[in-house]
Symmetry: none
Subunit: 259 residues, 2 copies
């Protein structure tokens, strides 16, 4: 698996660290520092409680440039819209979301993807991490193999470990699976899920009053596949054709169903 | 390197973290937390500026037991006197001391040594690290491969990385991508493809005269995902619901399309 022959450190410039709803500004500063020690520069903050903040600056300790260049977003969707590969950092195995890989495996995969497009590492809030919905907006879940019963790593410490694994991987470690041909943009994938959901409601398969995690299950399936751009087009085309058939159907037929 | 057959986690109980002349008590607390997340429990403090201290306790965040059991020593000699293998953590290549190995290599060596005796990981003061004399009291020097020109890791972050590498080494290195939960049987997957194909023909999306590799593309997508048994059931359910809607549609509507 060949990486591009240009300066390999360039790959790290394609990697963003996305912090979602960070509570303590000191952790934002410490994250900037952790990133910079390992060669990462792009910090994205989704709804930070306090930013900018003196505590963030104090903890950045020389990584003020990373902090100053940080992008603040109103939602995770906004943060990820131009990204093709996002890794959800998770402290636990979840019932419905992806089975997490360890961060060493994830790092190899991130580098393989960064050769082709922008990549994001997504870290949740200090107390509760990412929601299942947020994990399922990503294409891979990664876990730090902490001790069971005391897995509460500090947020910046978790960033430090993941950034370190990226750097180690860059310096000649394990190489990941090749990325799909032309990965779809996450914004386009989200629009596909919206379309699919409308369609499933129209067909009667999905009852919005009792969704029973159906969409989460489907996100998990398609997320594992790493949808390509062309595949999203095909899936949207299938749904559009079904929509047309549905629209042709006379309303009278519908009335006999209790919606 | 063969590990003893007893509980491998016992090996980590033989490893001490020695902090030399730590300036900020918050770093002592954060170190305790970093250690505990990775299964290390033995903290040794050589001439700490402030200890015990409220800031240390605050930063320990649940690792108070590690802090409470910390041993305070008056010198590095005293801290190391019962140890047979000590690793000096260093942020730079030094002229006179050992050529450092990276922390991954050091971790493997530490575990091998811990099978036979007590081991210490020695971290210097925040501003200037260990002196050359202190490095030379140890048997190995280890370095975190940080970016040249910005290698100033936070002390607890450095402990976190080394402790993580020990744990990874203990867990046996890289583990592959996880399999899906309950993979579907191939026969069931084939029946799903047949059902999907009939449905796409019915909807008009797939023209059997000009199939244009559509089914191959869809197989490639779902094949990458490694469908689970339950997912095949859901997909079949979605198709069945669409079939019903299709059957409800009066034939008259169809005639206006040229098939």
């Amino acid at each position: 698996l060949a990486l591009p022959l240009s300066d390999p450190a360039d790959l790290l410039q394609k990697v963003s660290v996305v912090l979602v709803r960070t509570t303590h500004p000191g952790n934002i500063g410490a994250t900037a520092r952790a990133m910079k020690t390992m060669g990462l520069a792009r910090l994205v903050l989704v709804e930070p409680r306090y930013f900018p903040d003196a505590q963030a600056t104090a903890m950045a300790s020389g990584a003020d440039d990373v902090l100053a260049a940080a992008r603040v977003c109103a939602s995770l969707d906004e943060a990820l819209k131009d990204t093709r590969f996002a890794v959800a950092m998770t402290a636990r195995v979840r019932e419905l979301a992806y089975e997490p890989v360890n961060i060493r495996v994830a790092a190899a995969q991130v580098l393989a993807e960064a050769g082709a497009s922008e990549v994001a590492l997504v870290f949740g809030t200090e107390m509760s991490g990412l929601s299942n919905d947020e994990v399922l907006k990503c294409q891979l879940a990664a876990m730090i193999p902490a001790v069971k019963g005391y897995s509460s790593l500090n947020l910046a410490a978790a960033v430090q470990l993941m950034a370190y694994e990226l750097r180690m991987s860059l310096l000649g470690g394990v190489v990941g699976m090749p990325p799909v041909q032309e990965p779809a943009q996450i914004g386009d994938i989200e629009r596909f899920y919206e379309h699919l959901q409308r369609n499933l409601i129209d067909s009667g398969f999905l009852d919005p009053a009792f969704p029973k995690k159906l969409m989460e299950r489907l996100r998990r399936l398609f997320g594992r596949a790493r949808l390509e751009k062309e595949e999203v087009n095909i899936l949207r085309g299938i749904l559009t054709e079904w929509d047309k058939r549905m629209a042709e159907r006379p309303l009278g037929k519908r009335a006999d169903k209790v919606d």
